[in-house]
């Protein structure tokens, strides 16, 4: 428990533990504590309250400034949603469709997961709930074909935002990662003037593997933002500090539940505060 008392080295250990318990990881934790000690000297920090506040400030700075989703009026916007299995891609797409539909945009979603059982039915239900159009093919179809059709349908129907769902895939499966590269190339080719966001969805309960996920997905496609889901649980998702530091990919959104409204913009200050709450 940190209060306004003067502190000693044991407080650094306490804070180090807190960071490790929140999945910040060994390296990023070492960096933050080293930075903390350095600034404590420079800024003559004396009480434990100030120390805690300083660490929060350093964590916030590491996360960078608030970076909203990119969206441009009067053009086709394409969001490609990717990530490993079960992290919340399909549900997040439902939430995004809801947000933009409510904001007055013409939204369409594409059922790019043609592999997993009932994947397109699941997205269909979200599309209906959000009141947006859906493009899907039969199970087992080529995902590239779905994406191709969706891009053309989006253009002909003057869609403002097309959100593409993809099958969960582990980043160490090279054939699946290559498939993702192919989907990206189709978007580039069929909608060269579209604004693109490639959103990597990461589950807040994930440990150090999330950093590897960010590294590997970013090698295949230009990941432009991260969605951190399931923050309504007890996991804090501290791994995003390591991702921000190492990969410099902005965290743009957080998932805080299973309903359409459970999506928030990522606020680095709020997140840093929650880490040390």
């Amino acid at each position: 428990v940190i209060t306004g008392r003067k502190f000693d080295d044991s407080l650094y250990e306490e804070l180090e533990e807190l960071l490790l318990l929140h999945d910040v990881g060994v390296e990023a934790t070492a960096y933050l504590i080293a930075e903390l000690k350095k600034q404590v000297k420079e800024r003559k920090i004396a009480t434990s309250d100030e120390l805690r506040h300083l660490l929060q400030e350093i964590a916030g700075k590491t996360l960078g400034s608030k970076q909203p989703l990119r969206y441009q009026e009067d053009t086709l916007n394409v969001y490609l949603v990717v990530g490993v299995n079960g992290v919340g891609k399909t549900t997040t797409i439902g939430k995004l469709a809801e947000r933009f539909k409510k904001g007055g945009s013409k939204v369409m979603v594409a059922a790019g997961d043609t592999f997993r059982a009932a994947a397109s039915s699941q997205l269909q239900i979200w599309a209906t709930r959000a009141g947006v159009a859906l493009v899907s093919h039969a199970d087992g179809a080529d995902p590239a074909a779905v994406v191709f059709d969706a891009l053309h349908a989006a253009r002909s129907r003057h869609i403002d935002l097309l959100i593409i769902d993809t099958a969960g895939r582990l980043h160490n499966k090279s054939n699946l990662m290559q498939e993702l590269g192919k989907i990206k190339r189709i978007i580039d080719r069929e909608a060269p003037n579209a604004l693109q966001e490639i959103l990597l969805v990461i589950d807040a309960t994930t440990g150090q593997n999330a950093l590897v996920q960010a590294q590997e997905f970013a090698q295949i496609v230009p990941v432009s933002g991260i969605v951190l889901t399931k923050l309504d649980g007890t996991a804090k998702g501290g791994i995003v500090l390591a991702i921000a530091k190492e990969q410099k990919i902005p965290i743009k959104l957080i998932g805080i539940g299973e309903k359409l409204a459970d999506l928030r913009d990522f606020d680095p200050q709020e997140f840093a505060a929650a880490l040390f709450a």
């Binding site: 533990e17 990881g25 060994v26 299995n85 009932a118 039915s121 269909q124 582990l170 593997n209 007890t234």
Partner: protein, 292 residues
């Protein structure tokens, strides 16, 4: 790997002559970091390090020509002991049907593992029925039905029924009427801190008296694995654990965390999305994986 790191660390220390206990303590910091980097829970790491310290500062290390490798050998052996040690066979009912209840966080892999278990146990001579108790997730029942169709194994569901314990109860009765000796119940993903949904599981448990409550845990889970395992175990008393998505490159330290904190055996691991991708858990393989 860890062996080399330890050798290097100890070489530095040993430069000044015979290794001391203090030197070993410093070397154990390397082990601590390796386990943390593998997602083993901090408290579990602490307990583990203090448990092996006695062996690590004993003669087998201090007198060894390769103390670093010796420490790794001890760590590996102790990890295997911790991860294994209990039988990981499924408890079958003396009077059928055997009821298996799959529980866990959202997206852990319960529905897929339900299908895999159905296929595996049918291969072992069982006559299974799958029961769809996820009434919340869009197309959850269809997902399980699709898997059942693939396997030609029936799926019991009560579309529109929101009382999950009732679905489970009727599913079990249906199995008994059909002479099926195995009931596998898939449930909705839920947060361990969601009191209403945890109560729902208790109601299901009361209604069907499962022979195995299996906690399904995503193999890439981090420090939170301890909270989750503890909560599910306190609420239901789990009988076993299934770690999923171990076909990925996650180190899988969560396996050690959940085993250490619940004492319950890890029975299976999921190693792919296909319905045949289920393996029996091997402590020695997991120990090697965690140590990287």
């Amino acid at each position: 790997g860890l062996g080399e790191k330890l050798q290097a660390a100890l070489k530095l220390l040993r430069g000044k002559g015979k290794l001391t206990e203090k030197d070993i303590s410093l070397a154990l910091r390397e082990v601590r970091m390796a386990l943390l980097a593998a997602d083993v829970n901090l408290q579990v790491v602490r307990d583990f390090i203090s448990a092996i310290k006695e062996r690590a500062v004993g003669g087998e290390v201090l007198e060894s020509l390769t103390p670093g490798q010796q420490i790794v050998k001890i760590v590996h052996e102790e990890l295997v002991k911790l991860l294994g040690g209990t039988t990981n066979r499924l408890n079958m009912a003396s009077k059928p049907p055997t009821v298996l209840l799959l529980v866990g966080l959202q997206g852990a892999g319960k529905t897929t593992q339900a299908g895999k278990l159905a296929q595996l146990l049918r291969k072992q001579g069982k006559f299974p029925l799958l029961v769809a108790c996820d009434v919340y997730r869009p197309a959850a029942i269809l997902q399980l039905e699709t898997l059942g169709k693939k396997l030609d194994i029936p799926v019991f569901s009560l579309p529109g029924e929101m009382n999950v314990a009732e679905i489970a109860r009727q599913g079990k009765e249906s199995a008994m009427r059909q002479g099926r000796d195995l009931v596998i119940i898939d449930t909705a993903g839920r947060l361990h801190i969601d009191e209403l949904l945890m109560q729902e599981l208790k109601d299901v448990q009361k209604a069907v008296l499962p022979h195995e409550v299996l906690l399904v845990v995503d193999g890439m889970t981090g420090q939170d694995a301890v909270q989750v395992a503890n909560s599910f175990n306190s609420a239901l008393g789990i009988d076993g654990i299934i770690m999923t998505k171990l076909d990925g490159d996650t180190r899988g330290g969560a396996a050690l965390s959940v085993k250490a904190v619940t004492g319950k055996p890890i029975k299976f691991i999921g190693v792919g999305e296909k319905l045949d991708a289920l393996e029996v858990f091997h402590p020695d393989r997991m120990a090697s994986r965690i140590l990287g």
